[in-house]
């Protein structure tokens, strides 16, 4: 923060002498970096001045111009501010106490150790392969300690030369909803709230796609006379708006095209849910619960592992299956063959044949989201 600039300026080596002083420890050239400077200031400032300085450091001049003020103008005393800031540390301290205690069992200590390490792990996207292995080992052990049952969790990375894509035949779908059931069972979705990633819309023949008039929760014999069926789920856009809006980078597009979520990094703000034009994302309002015998124990870190309350989730094209060469559960369960899945980069794949030989279209193509989910007809 050598010259207190709030903007980025291109350094072509003309100001070399200033370089040595650098910015702050975090390496950013802009204002808010970490709490360290704030804590230093805190010693000599009154609460009001501290509050003022904190706001200046975080949003600066902007607060006079936009709605941030409403959020930041909440009076918060130093005590509650620090209470919030150190919430994580308190959890950690609790873990330390447990692990150092002589009265608690070794299982409890191990659990506390795992909780501690899980609490302070980084974003999955930035982890090395060893760190990924480390976290899934901890999660597997933690599940075993809590339930006495073993799960098998993996962290396969995207395979090379693979880009997943999906095609849906609207003349074949009969609305049986076997896919919906298979998806819920495969992906350990919350049974209480009956969360479902897939929606099957029953639409009237001859009226086109009218989602407002379609019924996605029908219960009568299907296919109903004069209707057709089409399914929606996460389309794994190549230009995903949900990823753009995530303030903490808890969701991103993998090399093989899957848009995934790090459930442990998600803060539950639901911006992504609002940004998705296809209603592809779901939120856990309550703690997801699955009866132990029904839990699918073949899990992937980015896929069907057990989620927690207050995080987003969605279809992952069954990453735990597809990165092993299998088809997603919905494709496997479909009795009519309306669902086709494959590698878009392989010219010999069936999905490529569909794209090249059938008349395909995507939903809301004009938005430029580039969904990797095509619809076609016989």
């Amino acid at each position: 923060m050598s010259d207190n600039k709030k903007w980025y300026s291109l350094d072509l080596g003309l100001n070399n002498k200033k370089e040595s002083s650098g910015s702050c420890g975090c390496g950013k050239s802009e204002g808010s970096c970490s709490s360290t400077p704030k804590e230093q200031v805190e010693e000599e400032l009154s609460p009001e001045e501290f509050y003022e300085a904190a706001i200046n450091a975080s949003i600066g001049e902007e607060r006079h111009r936009d709605g941030f003020e409403q959020v930041f103008d909440v009076k918060m005393d130093r005590r509650s501010a620090f209470k919030k800031l150190t919430a994580s540390l308190l959890i950690g301290a609790g873990a330390v106490t447990t692990s150092c205690s002589v009265t608690t069992g070794s299982d409890t200590k191990e659990k506390a150790q795992i909780d501690w390490e899980e609490q302070f792990k980084g974003n999955y996207k930035l982890m090395t392969d060893e760190e990924k292995q480390g976290t899934i080992n901890r999660l597997m052990r933690s599940y075993e300690l809590r339930t006495d049952k073993k799960i098998n969790m993996t962290a396969e990375n995207a395979a090379e030369d693979v880009l997943f894509g999906y095609a849906f035949n609207i003349s074949k779908c009969q609305g049986y909803m076997n896919c919906v059931n298979a998806c819920v069972e495969e992906n350990n979705q919350d049974r209480n709230s009956e969360m479902q990633y897939i929606r099957i819309h029953e639409m009237k023949d001859g009226e086109g796609f009218k989602f407002d008039k379609a019924d996605d929760n029908y219960y009568h014999e299907v296919p109903a006379e004069g209707h057709f069926y089409m399914g929606t789920q996460c389309f794994h856009c190549d230009n995903p708006p949900c990823v753009e809006v995530c303030p903490v980078q808890a969701t991103w597009k993998e090399e093989d095209g899957l848009v995934v979520i790090d459930y442990d990094w998600c803060v539950g703000c639901r911006y992504c849910m609002a940004a998705c034009p296809y209603d592809g994302r779901r939120f856990n309002w309550s703690k997801p619960e699955v009866p132990e015998p029904e839990v699918n124990k073949n899990q992937h870190y980015l896929g069907n592992r057990m989620r927690k309350k207050g995080v987003m989730e969605k279809c992952t094209f069954c990453v735990q299956r597809t990165r092993k060469g299998k088809n997603p559960a919905c494709v496997e369960a479909c009795p009519t063959g309306a669902r086709i899945f494959g590698n878009l980069l392989d010219p010999n794949s069936t999905i490529r044949w569909v794209l090249e030989n059938k008349k395909v279209f995507r939903l809301k193509e004009d938005l430029g989201t580039e969904p990797k989910f095509w619809y076609f007809m016989d």
Partner: protein
């Protein structure tokens, strides 16, 4: 000073024009990306293990070569000639045990099709084409494709039907009779397998706000 600004802006412009289309976002659309990075997949992922327990035969139809499940081993009473030791015409009226009494043909109308359209009455171990050529039970799709030519085209390409295992090569696709009962090929009407009671409550009563 003005000169320097000018030079800077020229440099920036050049840089932008040179590098803007490079790097990760090299393609303007997903179809460009598919076209640009297209190459036959010979990677580590395969369906071979998933297919290990399935008896498969390789077929080549036009430019497509893929695997389909073997059929004869799946038919309970194959070989047919164990009972049909003589041509059907000679067995009519015999006091032989009745084995297929429950089969009703619900496939086209009776003017267009009867048993003999597909089955060879002289040699029950074989199927026969419309022109009387023998077709092996394993290759029954050749029989279906005589009439259902557009479905056959889609099936060969992979737009009709289902894969046996995963997306990864080698490709193994179900053949017609794995999904369709040849005697009654259309899918039945039935109830959906699930109903979302929570959604129904939300829609009917609102969220309680």
């Amino acid at each position: 000073m003005k000169n320097r600004t000018l030079i800077y802006s020229v440099v920036v412009l050049l840089g932008v024009s040179l590098f803007s289309c490079k790097g990760e976002e090299e393609y303007h659309s997903i179809s460009d990306k598919i076209e640009g990075e297209s190459k036959p997949y010979h990677g580590a992922l395969t369906s071979e293990q998933l297919l290990a327990d399935t008896e498969l035969i390789e077929i080549t139809e036009g430019e497509h070569t893929f695997l389909i499940p073997e059929r004869k081993g799946q038919i309970k009473s194959f070989a047919c000639i164990e009972c049909h030791s003589k041509p059907v015409s000679q067995m009519i009226g015999k006091d032989a045990p009745k084995a297929h009494w429950d089969i009703k043909v619900n496939h086209a109308n009776s003017d267009a099709m009867n048993c003999a359209t597909c089955h060879n009455g002289e040699d029950m171990n074989q199927l026969n084409t419309l022109t009387g050529k023998n077709i092996d039970f394993n290759l029954s799709y050749k029989l279906c494709s005589q009439c259902h030519s557009s479905q056959f085209e889609d099936w060969k390409g992979g737009a009709h039907g289902k894969k046996v295992a995963g997306w990864a090569p080698p490709r193994a696709s179900n053949t017609c009779v794995n999904c369709h009962n040849p005697h009654s090929p259309s899918f039945e009407k039935r109830w959906p397998v699930q109903f979302n009671t929570k959604t129904a409550i939300e829609r009917n009563e609102g969220l309680g706000h």
